[in-house]
C-alpha cells in the first residue's frame, strides 16, 4: 500500500530535453554495427523470442486468431531450436480463444484495451474494457493514453487514468501505449514516458500501429533513456515495446543494438523488450533459413499467419 501512496505525478518541468539532431547522430551510430554469422543468428533468434505477434483488425475472426496462435507456437518447424514468440496480441473479444489455443505453451496473451486505438471514451468504459480482457485471461494489457488530454496539458488526468487501469489489471502486466506519432515532439515523448513510468507501467510502448509514423528509432531512444533514468531513480526495471513499422530483420537488429547500448544486457530478453509486429516474424525466419541454407528466401514458402 505504501507504493500506492507515493505514486504521484513527477515534476515535468525538470526533465531532460532532446535535440533531434543529436538523437539522429546517436541513432546513426547504432545502425552502423556489422553483425554477421553466429552473432547475427543469435540476434535473430533473440528478436524472434521478443515478438508480440499481433493482429488488430476489424476483419479478425476466431479462425484467424487460432491460426496466429499456431504460428506463434510453430514459427517454422523446418528449423530446429527455434524459440517461440513472446506473446500473441489481440482485441479483448479474442482473448479467450487465444488463451485456449495457447494452452500448455509459455506464450502470453496480450490484449489491447481502453478504447483502443483512439482512447476517446470515458474512464468507466475504459476500465470495463480492461476488466473484460483480464477476466478473459489476458496476461498483458496494452492500454492507450488519452492523447487529447495530454496535448491540452492535462497531465494529471493522463496519470490518474493510467494508475486506475493499472489497478484493474491486477496481476496482468500493463503496457502503456504513448502513440508517439501523435505527440509531435521528442520532448513530449519524454514527458509522456515519464507520466506512464511513474503511474505504474510495466512496459512503455510506442504506437498502436494505426497511426503513421509508428515506431521510429528516435522515439524509442528517447523512451529507453526515460526508462534508464527511472531505473536510476527508483531501482525498478521497466520494459520497452516498439510497435508498428518494424518489418525487417535488419531494423530489428538495430533496435537490439540500441537496447544493449542504452539499457544494457539485463534488458536483453523478452521480459523487458518486445517487438510489436506481424510481418517481422516471417522476415526473421527467412533470414534464419538463409543463414542455414545459404540461399536467399522467398515469402512464398512461409505461412502468412
Amino acid at each position: 500500500m505504501v507504493a500506492q501512496l507515493i505514486k504521484m505525478l513527477p515534476d515535468l518541468h525538470n526533465i531532460p530535453l532532446f535535440d533531434a539532431t543529436g538523437v539522429n547522430e546517436r541513432i546513426d551510430r547504432f545502425c552502423k554495427r556489422s553483425i554477421k554469422k553466429n552473432s547475427k543468428a543469435s540476434g535473430l533468434k533473440l528478436a524472434l523470442s521478443m515478438v508480440d505477434l499481433t493482429t488488430l483488425e476489424g476483419k479478425d475472426t476466431e479462425a484467424k486468431v487460432r491460426q496466429l496462435c499456431y504460428k506463434a507456437m510453430h514459427p517454422h518447424d523446418l528449423l530446429k531450436d527455434l524459440p517461440s514468440v513472446a506473446a500473441v496480441c489481440v482485441y479483448p473479444s479474442y482473448v479467450g480463444i487465444a488463451k485456449k489455443a495457447l494452452e500448455g505453451s509459455a506464450i502470453q496473451v496480450a490484449s489491447v484495451a481502453t478504447a483502443f486505438p483512439s482512447g476517446q471514451s470515458k474512464l468507466s468504459v475504459k476500465l470495463d474494457d480492461t476488466r473484460f480482457a483480464v477476466d478473459q485471461g489476458a496476461d498483458e494489457i496494452d492500454m492507450v493514453i488519452s492523447r487529447g488530454a495530454f496535448l491540452s496539458g492535462n497531465y494529471q488526468y493522463v496519470f490518474d487514468e493510467i494508475a486506475a487501469v493499472k489497478e484493474v489489471c491486477g496481476k496482468a502486466h500493463l503496457k502503456v501505449i504513448l502513440e508517439t506519432g501523435e505527440l509531435d515532439t521528442l520532448d513530449n515523448v519524454r514527458k509522456a514516458s515519464e507520466i506512464a513510468l511513474y503511474a505504474g507501467a510495466d512496459f512503455i510502448k510506442t504506437s498502436t500501429g494505426k497511426i503513421q509514423p509508428a515506431a521510429t528509432m528516435q522515439v524509442t531512444y528517447v523512451m529507453l533513456q526515460a526508462i534508464k533514468d527511472y531505473y536510476l531513480a527508483t531501482g525498478k526495471m521497466v520494459g520497452m515495446k516498439p510497435a508498428g513499422g518494424i518489418s525487417t530483420s535488419k531494423i530489428a537488429l538495430q533496435y537490439l543494438v540500441m537496447l544493449n547500448e542504452v539499457l544494457g544486457e539485463r534488458w536483453m530478453n523478452k521480459h523487458y523488450f518486445r517487438f510489436g509486429a506481424s510481418s517481422l516474424l516471417n522476415d526473421l525466419l527467412m533470414q534464419l533459413v538463409k543463414l542455414d541454407t545459404g540461399a536467399y528466401q522467398s515469402p512464398d514458402y512461409f505461412s502468412k499467419d
Binding site: G294, A295, Y296, S298, D300, Y301
Partner: protein, 287 residues
C-alpha cells in the same frame, strides 16, 4: 587553361534509381589498346538480393499493365535509343568494334525492341489454347508471366545481347534482373538511362554489372527468382545452374553464346520461354 574532361560514373540501375554497389567495389574496363575506359560497379550478392526485392515489388503492377501499353512502352524505348544512337555507337567502338559494326549492332537492338513491341498483344493468341475435353467444361489455357526473371546476358554482343534477352521477358509481363556483359558493360548502363526516360516503371528492369562467377550461384539458388535465363555455352556452368535451381523448381533457360547473331535471335518462342501456362476448367451446360 585546358578543360578537364568530365567522365561519366557508371553505376547500377535498381528500382528506377542509379545507386553505386553497396559493396563499394569496382572493376576497371579497358579498351582494346589497354586504356582505361571506366571503373564499373562490381555488384555483390547483396545488390542482387536488393534487386530481387525491387523486382518482386514491381511485378504485380507490371503484370497488370495492358498489352497495348506494354507495347507502347517498348516502342518508346526504341524511340529513345534511336535518338541516342550516336552515344551507343561511340561506346561500342570504345569496346573495340568498328564504326560500321557498332552502328549495325545498335540498329539491330532498336529493331529488336520494335519487333517485341509488336508481339506485345499477339503472343497470347499464339500460345493460348482452347482444349477439347470429354466433359461439359469449357477448357482453356492462357499464358502468364512466370514472375521475377534473372538473366545473365551474353558476353558479346554487349548491347544487342542485353536487349535481345531483356525485351522478350519484359514484354511478357515479367520483371527482370539482368547481369550485363562483364567485358562490354558500358552500353548496359547507358541503356538503363534510356529505360529510365521511357516510361518503364522503376523495378521492372534492374541492371547489374559485375562478375558472372561471383553472382551466378546466388541467381540460381535465390528462392524468390522464378526463372533464370543463361546465355553461355559452358556445360559445367549449365549443369551447376540446373542443380542449384532445383530447390524452388526455378525454370532454367539456356541459350548459346552466339544465339543473337543469327536469325533465331528474334522469336516469339523467346517470349514463351518465360511464360507459364494456366489452364481453367469452366463448367458449361451439357450439350
Amino acid at each position: 587553361m585546358n578543360r578537364l574532361d568530365i567522365h561519366k560514373t557508371y553505376k547500377l540501375y535498381l528500382g528506377g534509381k542509379f545507386p553505386r554497389t553497396e559493396s563499394g567495389r569496382y572493376y576497371p574496363v579497358h579498351d582494346s589498346s589497354g586504356n582505361l575506359l571506366a571503373n564499373m560497379c562490381l555488384a555483390s550478392r547483396k545488390d542482387f538480393r536488393n534487386a530481387v526485392v525491387l523486382a518482386r515489388k514491381a511485378q504485380p503492377a507490371w503484370k497488370r499493365v495492358t498489352a497495348l501499353n506494354k507495347g507502347q512502352i517498348l516502342y518508346r524505348i526504341a524511340e529513345m535509343l534511336e535518338a541516342r544512337k550516336a552515344q551507343f555507337i561511340t561506346e561500342l567502338s570504345a569496346h573495340g568494334l568498328s564504326q560500321q559494326s557498332a552502328k549495325k549492332e545498335v540498329e539491330a537492338a532498336i529493331d529488336s525492341l520494335v519487333y517485341y513491341a509488336g508481339w506485345s498483344d499477339k503472343y497470347q493468341q499464339l500460345f493460348s489454347t482452347v482444349n477439347p475435353v470429354s466433359s461439359s467444361h469449357f477448357n482453356f489455357s492462357v499464358v502468364e508471366p512466370v514472375g521475377v526473371v534473372a538473366i545473365k546476358a551474353p558476353e558479346t554482343p554487349g548491347l544487342l545481347g542485353l536487349v535481345s534477352m531483356l525485351a522478350p521477358a519484359v514484354v511478357g509481363g515479367n520483371t527482370v534482373i539482368i547481369l550485363a556483359s562483364e567485358q562490354q558493360p558500358l552500353t548496359a548502363i547507358s541503356f538503363a538511362e534510356v529505360l529510365h526516360s521511357s516510361d518503364v516503371p522503376g523495378g521492372v528492369v534492374n541492371i547489374l554489372t559485375g562478375k558472372e562467377q561471383e553472382l551466378i550461384s546466388h541467381m540460381a539458388t535465390h528462392m524468390d527468382v522464378n526463372a533464370l535465363v543463361y546465355c553461355g555455352s559452358d556445360k559445367t556452368v549449365r549443369q551447376s545452374i540446373s542443380e542449384l535451381s532445383s530447390d524452388n523448381l526455378k525454370r532454367t533457360i539456356f541459350y548459346n553464346q552466339d544465339h543473337w547473331d543469327k536469325a533465331q535471335g528474334e522469336s516469339p518462342y523467346i517470349i514463351e520461354a518465360t511464360q507459364e501456362l494456366k489452364t481453367t476448367w469452366h463448367p458449361t451446360k451439357a450439350s
